[in-house]
């Protein structure tokens, strides 16, 4: 009622200004409020985690960075992230070494090589792989993958054992090692890498490819000269997304890995641990202080993930300028 009266009286002087209706103001308030709320929630989480983590680290009787064991619930508490950081990074690196070439290969096959009739079912299958819950991967890994990798382990031990990396201290111990975890993680991150890369390959300008073909390039040369340079930053983003999942994977690792506070170069030995696996294993029976300690380890994982993402963004930003495509 009042609105209609003001509208009728005021229009002439306000006609110059931007018309703001109540709906605009409400929407502005709502969206601004949501934005602020997000920041407040993030800040609250960050402060809470940091306070608890600092409390735990300041009462640690070991060195938080270099201690191997994780005994936060005993008195005095002694815990450190050395084994966890090593295991997390090593298993993720193994996963990347395996998954990036295969993932890019699958994506190239789907986007450039496969006949259309085969390409879409294949893409669909890869999508399905992403929909499997990680606990199912874990069970499959523990029940199927571990016994069946024993042969490969023994072969590696026999022929590549001299490198140290593939040395298996007790050849009859089961294959519940960081190496196996890396293979399992590779399978889990494959769909992410494949899907993102495929989308990037699709966006390669047809003109570039046709130009290369016109110059007499073979299909492989087209991919090498036109597709891959254009897609390089996309492949890096895809790998980083995958790496993020590999770093944080919990249940599958907890089921497959034979965790122990040992830091060893022998990747086939059943030993080691990862951040997420350790949290899953210790959280249930942890005391209040033990939980704080686990939160501290979670923060470290958070920082590692942040660094990895930051590095990826840097690489992408630098590549953009001379990617050969339309920068």
């Amino acid at each position: 009622m009042t609105l209609s009266t003001t509208n009728t009286t005021i229009p002439p002087p306000k006609a110059q200004k931007v018309v703001t209706q109540p709906g605009d103001r409400i929407f502005l308030g709502l969206s601004r409020g949501s934005g602020i709320l997000l920041l407040v929630i993030m800040a609250a989480i960050a402060i809470f985690l940091t306070v608890r983590a600092v409390h735990a680290i300041s009462h640690d009787h070991g060195n938080f960075l270099s201690t191997f064991e994780w005994n936060a619930d005993q008195t005095p508490p002694v815990f450190g992230i050395a084994v966890l950081a090593y295991g997390t990074i090593i298993s993720s690196v193994i996963a990347m070494v395996i998954a990036v070439p295969i993932g890019v290969g699958i994506a190239l096959f789907i986007s450039h090589y496969a006949p259309r009739r085969l390409a879409s079912p294949l893409a669909y299958l890869v999508d399905l792989l992403a929909a499997v819950p990680s606990i199912v991967y874990g069970l499959w890994g523990a029940i199927y993958l571990v016994p069946n990798l024993q042969g490969l382990n023994l072969w590696l031990n026999e022929y590549l054992g001299w490198t140290g990396i593939f040395h298996k201290t007790d050849p009859s111990s089961s294959a519940r090692s960081l190496f196996t975890v890396g293979i399992l993680l590779a399978i889990m991150v494959l769909p992410i890498i494949t899907n993102v890369s495929r989308e990037v390959f699709r966006q390669v300008p047809k003109a570039h490819e046709e130009a290369a073909l016109a110059l007499g390039a073979t299909r492989w040369e087209v991919i090498r000269m036109a597709v891959l340079p254009f897609a390089r930053s996309g492949i890096i983003s895809a790998s980083m997304l995958g790496l993020g999942r590999a770093l944080g994977e919990t249940m599958a690792v907890a089921i497959v890995l034979s965790a122990s506070p040992q830091l060893t170069i022998h990747l086939l030995d059943p030993a080691g641990g990862t951040f997420a696996q350790n949290i899953a294993a210790k959280f249930g029976e942890a005391t209040d202080f033990g939980r704080d300690a686990l939160i501290a380890s979670g923060l470290v994982l958070f920082v590692i993930t942040l660094l990895v993402n930051g590095a990826a963004r840097l690489i992408i930003a630098r590549r953009k300028e001379y990617s050969g495509a339309n920068a």
Binding site: W70, N71, D73, Q74, A142, I143, P147, D170, S172, S173, S174, R176, A254, I255, L257, S258, A259, S260, P270, Q277, A280, A281, K282, G284, E285, A286, T287, D288, G290
Partner: protein, 379 residues
């Protein structure tokens, strides 16, 4: 496109309908169960024993030990069938969380694998007003079995020092002289021993390592802890994980609750305790070991301490007991009646009888009597 979207919506709607239909069906199912059992009143009391209900409406919240969760589930079901106006909700959150929640006053009682520490008892005076404090009532016993996977060997005998050395990677092959000596006439393979422990922290590890340290202090020098402290070996998550690994790895040995050995059909080690015969893990032999335990709780507290080096005939030494934690005085008036009534039932002969069939060990008569007296005098 439009058509596709429509059909997807339809599929979704169909799925939702199917799921809600299933929910309705299951709801009907449980209703039916309750209906039949309450109509056949006499058979119901026979199954659940002589349950004396608390009378007034009550809602009992409890949480804690996962080790006694299976027993609790059966007890709660039996009790709520007999006393429909009492709601009991036992959350198996782990002993540590259970103790914390009880000490914060948010639960009526807690289940726990370990007795309260002195500072926790001091802290409990706040939730047990009027001069009361939290007490430990032993309720559910159990044997920790040592399962193994040795093709061709079915009657393995070990003793505490040998077990300690196996789990500390000092004995690494099955034909080690120490094992041979305990098993005369058995042909042991020369394969290496794969010792499995828990990768997650657990009361089972705590009790198992307490046994190793108590019965073989020279071979096992680590303090008992929920985290495994020994050298070497491999680990798996949960008792089910350890049992699964032992089952699929030849040459493996691992520890877990007796029920997992029964479920997975794994042979278990007989323990040479110094008694005339090596003792096998079972409900009966575990109960016998609990009877040899010493009471260490003061006042109304009935906390027990095991004599792990016991050589009583037929007492299986790797045994644990889990407690219910309540206030001796100053329980909340709203839940006191129901708490007393429920605990009376689970400590009764009828309640304890349920335990053997689930792989737990019932309390020996003498301790059960003390527990019942304590429950009677709760206020």
């Amino acid at each position: 496109m439009k058509f596709q979207r429509k059909s997807r919506l339809r599929a979704l709607a169909f799925g939702a309908a199917a799921i809600s239909g299933a929910l309705v069906l299951t709801a009907c199912g449980s209703d039916n169960n309750a209906g039949t059992s309450s109509s056949g009143g006499s058979s119901n009391t026979a199954a659940a024993g002589n349950i004396t209900c608390a009378g007034k409406q009550a809602n009992l919240l409890a949480s804690g030990s996962t080790a006694q969760a299976n027993a609790m589930q059966v007890w709660v079901k039996n009790y709520m069938q007999a006393c429909p106006n009492t709601q009991i909700n036992y959350k198996p959150t782990g002993s540590g969380a259970g103790q914390t929640e009880f000490l914060q006053g948010s639960t009526a009682f807690a289940g726990s694998d370990s007795a309260l520490k002195p500072d926790q008892i001091a802290q409990s005076k706040q939730v047990c007003p009027g001069g009361g404090q939290a007490i430990d009532l032993p309720m559910v016993g159990g044997a920790i079995a040592v399962g193994y996977n040795l093709p061709g060997v079915s009657n393995l005998v070990l003793d505490a020092p040998t077990l300690a050395k196996i789990f500390n990677a000092q004995i690494t092959t099955w034909n080690d002289p120490a094992i041979k000596k305990l098993n005369p006439g058995v042909t042991l393979p020369s394969t290496s021993i794969q010792a499995f422990h828990r990768s997650d922290s657990s009361g089972t590890t705590d009790n198992f390592t307490a046994y190793l340290g108590g019965a073989a202090p020279s071979a096992w020098s680590y303090p008992h802890d929920k985290a495994f402290k020994g050298k070497g070996g491999q680990s798996a998550a949960g008792s089910s994980g350890v049992a699964a690994q032992v089952k699929q790895t030849p040459g493996a040995i691992g520890y877990f609750e007796l029920s997992y050995a029964t479920a997975d059909n794994l042979p278990t080690v007989k323990i040479n305790t110094g008694a005339s015969q090596a003792v096998e893990a079972s409900s009966a032999t575990a109960s016998k070991a609990i009877a040899t335990a010493k009471r260490v709780g003061t006042g109304n507290d009935l906390a027990l301490k095991f004599d792990y080096a016991t050589n009583v005939e037929g007492a299986y030494p790797i045994t644990l007991v889990t407690y219910e934690i309540v206030c001796d005085k100053g329980n909340k008036p709203a839940t006191l009646g129901a708490t007393k009534s429920f605990l009376t039932y689970i400590a009764s002969d009828a309640g304890q009888q349920n335990l053997s069939s689930m792989g737990y060990a019932p309390l020996p008569a003498e301790i059960a009597t003390e527990v019942r007296q304590q429950i009677n005098s709760l206020s």
